[in-house]
Symmetry: D2
Amino acid sequence: MGAKETVEVTGHLMDSGILSRILDDIRDYGGDYVIEKFDVGHETHDPSSARISIEAEDDECLQRLLMRLQTRGVNQLTTGDAVLVAAPRDGVLPDGFYSTTNLETRVRLEGRWFDVENPEMDCGLMVAGSDTDQPRVRTVPMSDVRTGMQVVVGASGVRVTVPAPDQRAEAFPTSGDSATERPQTVLVRQVADSMRQARAGGRRVLWVGGPGIVHTGAVPAMVALIEAGFVDVLFAGNALATHDIESALYGTALGIDMNTAQGVEHGHEHHVRALNTVRRSGSIGAAVADGTLTSGIMHALVTHERRYVLVGSVRDDGPLPDVHTDVIEGQRAMRAEIHDVGYCLMLATQLHSVATSNILPATVPLVCVDLNPATVTKLADRGTSHGRGIVTDVGLFLEQLALELVPDYRRG
Amino acid sequence: MGAKETVEVTGHLMDSGILSRILDDIRDYGGDYVIEKFDVGHETHDPSSARISIEAEDDECLQRLLMRLQTRGVNQLTTGDAVLVAAPRDGVLPDGFYSTTNLETRVRLEGRWFDVENPEMDCGLMVAGSDTDQPRVRTVPMSDVRTGMQVVVGASGVRVTVPAPDQRAEAFPTSGDSATERPQTVLVRQVADSMRQARAGGRRVLWVGGPGIVHTGAVPAMVALIEAGFVDVLFAGNALATHDIESALYGTALGIDMNTAQGVEHGHEHHVRALNTVRRSGSIGAAVADGTLTSGIMHALVTHERRYVLVGSVRDDGPLPDVHTDVIEGQRAMRAEIHDVGYCLMLATQLHSVATSNILPATVPLVCVDLNPATVTKLADRGTSHGRGIVTDVGLFLEQLALELVPDYRRG
Amino acid sequence: MGAKETVEVTGHLMDSGILSRILDDIRDYGGDYVIEKFDVGHETHDPSSARISIEAEDDECLQRLLMRLQTRGVNQLTTGDAVLVAAPRDGVLPDGFYSTTNLETRVRLEGRWFDVENPEMDCGLMVAGSDTDQPRVRTVPMSDVRTGMQVVVGASGVRVTVPAPDQRAEAFPTSGDSATERPQTVLVRQVADSMRQARAGGRRVLWVGGPGIVHTGAVPAMVALIEAGFVDVLFAGNALATHDIESALYGTALGIDMNTAQGVEHGHEHHVRALNTVRRSGSIGAAVADGTLTSGIMHALVTHERRYVLVGSVRDDGPLPDVHTDVIEGQRAMRAEIHDVGYCLMLATQLHSVATSNILPATVPLVCVDLNPATVTKLADRGTSHGRGIVTDVGLFLEQLALELVPDYRRG
Amino acid sequence: MGAKETVEVTGHLMDSGILSRILDDIRDYGGDYVIEKFDVGHETHDPSSARISIEAEDDECLQRLLMRLQTRGVNQLTTGDAVLVAAPRDGVLPDGFYSTTNLETRVRLEGRWFDVENPEMDCGLMVAGSDTDQPRVRTVPMSDVRTGMQVVVGASGVRVTVPAPDQRAEAFPTSGDSATERPQTVLVRQVADSMRQARAGGRRVLWVGGPGIVHTGAVPAMVALIEAGFVDVLFAGNALATHDIESALYGTALGIDMNTAQGVEHGHEHHVRALNTVRRSGSIGAAVADGTLTSGIMHALVTHERRYVLVGSVRDDGPLPDVHTDVIEGQRAMRAEIHDVGYCLMLATQLHSVATSNILPATVPLVCVDLNPATVTKLADRGTSHGRGIVTDVGLFLEQLALELVPDYRRG
């Protein structure tokens, strides 16, 4: 072993399990450690801090381990400036690039610390104006890299801050717990409180939804929540919008659509006709404007001037004209809408939920509601972020949520 | 091939898929068939009828195939009297015994047809007073057979009637359909209607429940439904009762129990203390009487004089004094309580739900609610019976059900 | 009711359940029917045929119902020529367009019948050279429609043929059956037989795979199957290729990657470094050529000159340079590779499996292997197509498959 | 707050997450703490130790918290003798009884420490011969308590030892991890190694199995493993044995049984006839002896003189004469067979697996194999015990295991 570094970490190290994960990481990367100092929180709510000396095979291993540890909030004890290297080609980061977390991150340049403006996971860190005295540091996804961009390499000069635990979410399952046996109405109430709070604080509420919202009969509940102002922006795919519009155009009897769930997506021609109809209008907004589309979720979003970003997938028919068929363009459109998001609700879609959690800063609380426990676990258990999960049907969940948040919902 | 027989079947043969199943059965048993006559229902709601000539390797195969087909409502065209043979030993049926379905069944004795008094699956048919002119025919489970009982062998002289399709349950998934993507609030309303209807018709409502009712926070909803008269009898295991009582005795803060779902059943000593406490009182009823138990589901059942049958399993701690530790005795106790049941609700328990559906006549509508789609499929898809399934969380389901059925629930 | 039509259908109507589905469809579309004639198959393997008179509210409803019924193999008794209408705009089909199935389809033009060259679901039917005496009929996905294309509207002049049941797949669960409790080694052997048979018949074997292939340790088995010639083309996303390459580049110890499954996709920087490395080489092929990539699935495909189509999704990092980021372009690339496919294996990916089954003709047998029963049901139970499902882990499945198909696998 | 106590704990406190759980417990029980001393393991493999001062509302709370903490291996710093109280009634433990873990436990009596002979969860601790100089300490399940038994109350005088982590099981998912995406063939090999090791050490291998073993076609593999000496004792229910015997008696073609999985348990009369046949013989052993039963799992167990304990459940038909219908008697029979067990394999049964893990000491390594991730999580994640889980099909798992362990399996 050759390369060494000393790191420190502060927080609820023991009662959050975070120290276990740190030591696991060191072993996984083939490193070794000595805990040099451990200041334990004496009282229940005191944070602890640890200083750990780490050794790895060579400097490259060490740098990668240090970057890895930063995902846990572990920073180097002493640090110089960040090292910048120019990107060698469009779309390619320099070797040894710093791979980001979605935590609050600062970068040291010529002795001064600068906040990363838009924390996002699995990006590079680029410095604009590095030769000026007002440099700006931003995350850059690999596909947006341009030749010559100044990019941070190695872990030196980078510090991250782990958010404090979310006190409001105490009844929620913690990481790794089973999320299936919980007092569900209590959880719904907590989600309602968090949404009210986000709105009261002037923050936007982001929804990420799959077509299950339509199939489980939750359109009326979601429309009521849009009308009541609890939906600022929706991320979804072609399927949610298409099934919502299909239901609005052809759903003479809800029972019929629901009787035939097996064939909803294919075989039944309703949805291809719905797609063709909107394509003829030119867009969802145009279909509302020309009187083709008069109800449903997409209609409510348009008439209440809420934002939506629809990103396609390889299984799409159509798609709707509003759908981004290029997924990288779609990611860019999503990034453009996450500003000021204060709460994120992910409903019955693993694909778009993972995509969203990839770009969302760790500080945004999110809750994932899905019947599939595997989806909930994947979303709710993402390191240090504020993910929570509820394993249940979105139909009854949104019904309860509307009853909580919309005073006159279903009350005549 | 040697043995032949002609059978007939009448009903919605084509639009129910029943004819496919009949022909599948014949092939599965290695038989062959010719459809001799097929009177098709010309209009949408007409029944069809088919006459099928069946051939099997030998008479034993044929008899077994004929019994099998009776589970589909297929009867022999011409039939003599039932053949009776004395049971050779306690607990043992004679060779070639008629294996029952849970359909309405009649048996021909000396030219007269007699109703089977208590249709139940997988039993023998015993005839009491076969030498009198008032014989009675009953199902007898294998373990209740006594030496010398007169038992029907072969399919001769037995006819079954398949119930007409349940019109009320149209929005429910049919057999084999995915039960996950449904308009859930509509389904809750249909369950509520069926329960009101059963009660209006003077029939009892049977609940079968697992401990998930407690873990998902549905105790208040279920207590409200007991108080409002929608629970006549509960079948459950030791776990539901124990967790309910544990929650009543130690649940100072619901959040605490729920925070620790992983450990609820073991490790935490709450539940063993709850068990010991009730054992000291002598029974659940005694614990209510002596003031030990003052709230919860079991308390509500006792104070409202509702019936419950608790049957143990090999994983039980304790158990509570009221639990039948002998499962065969437990089945007998359950059989004694299914009279006049007009609706059955199965919630978050596969074990007790399957046990109940084994003894319930096919005419009793049942709905199974569970987060696990496999459990729902297993229960809802049992041949010709009136099973329906809802894949969702029982917590939100019971909350919605109480909102539907109990006028002032959560509105006070 | 005004509009009427008489249709006919021939096949194993009763023992396949197909007639039930037909009558369900008529009711779902609000139509009514009279079964005018029913010729029953007298012997076990005889086909039946039915002539049904159908009535719908108006002609538009009727046409849509007729198109719907064609997905079941129901054709009009008497039919004129197909009606052609010009597409009004790029990307928009004319009103009342015929919505395709993936069944073998013929179209009547001026009294002659023409085969549809490339059956695919949920498309339009376009006729090229409709004014010549050599017209050609092809499916056209909505996004490939160009203004003025001659497109079939209504069901007139279109006939479909339902494939005969797949005899080889008898042990597999049929539609709607539980697919979890099956003799799995028997199923593996049947898949092996089908693959040998496809290859012997000069047909290509198509694989559709998710990253679970890598995570469950099946890389060696799949590489052996590529080398032995059982993989002609692979459809996948960015994740399978990235994790395979990550494992090839950084998987010093397989155990390590596997110890940390939770973090495999994000947080760990291995995969972003793998992505960046291949992006620097320029493509997967280039990374093989320049010696960067020396093992794994993608390496084996490149060195054995097998085809692969990678289509991106909104959750992708990177992506790899070979990934189609535009999903509609990706679908086109997949369509270009399905010629001569004689067997399709779908492994641990719902997204790409559904996408593939959307474009695959119904005549191609496919098997879907996934731990999630919902995915298997969705894929295996698609109307009249030859879908089969196995609910199991792909790791052990591919291990067994390699043991069946590769003589010296793990024996050397 | 009134009552205080100082406790200590030693082990891999940080990298095992155990300290987090300890502090969670204290909060759950409404207690408070101060970490007085924390000796950190400086090097990677050093154990740490902590001394924690705990405060609770009153002594009863404190005693219960102390007992709870012992499930984590936390012992009181200074301890007097255990306090003994006589059981007040048959089947009832004294108030404040010590509720056991399945860890190695010692009890101090008059200054001397005695090992608990048979560690088991959720029992009381009884002292026999407490007035002699050779007292013996045993766990006693509640239902075996007899009036006047000397039972330990409170946590005083009791110490537990947490087993060291199982080094062999490193590739297995740790608590809370997803167990679905793992290199499955590696896991099978580890299970094989552990079984060889147990056998080499003269320890017995315990199997716990559900009927899925039969349905997934694993009978030949399990029979080969019985013949090769890798099954010493089997715990199961009525269903596994019945389906195995049904398959042996009627399984003319395995394909047929498997084609009809939906109906396997009910409706099909095969299983009731199988039950009746064995009941007529008198027992499974008698059915082997009289030539009725000539193949399958139960036949192999009988002819190779392996032990089996069958315990019934409320859903049973029949049952087989060998089945314990009283579940408490069944538990006693299981307890009588766990001596010298060195490895436990749990396959496709949640009910009997949980029942077994309740009575198994924490020192016995166990692996749970099931398609349902929830079952695997429940079994594998039981505090400090050596549970491991594999989410996969038991059919392919046992096939691979037989290939690993039985030299000529499928090679002859």
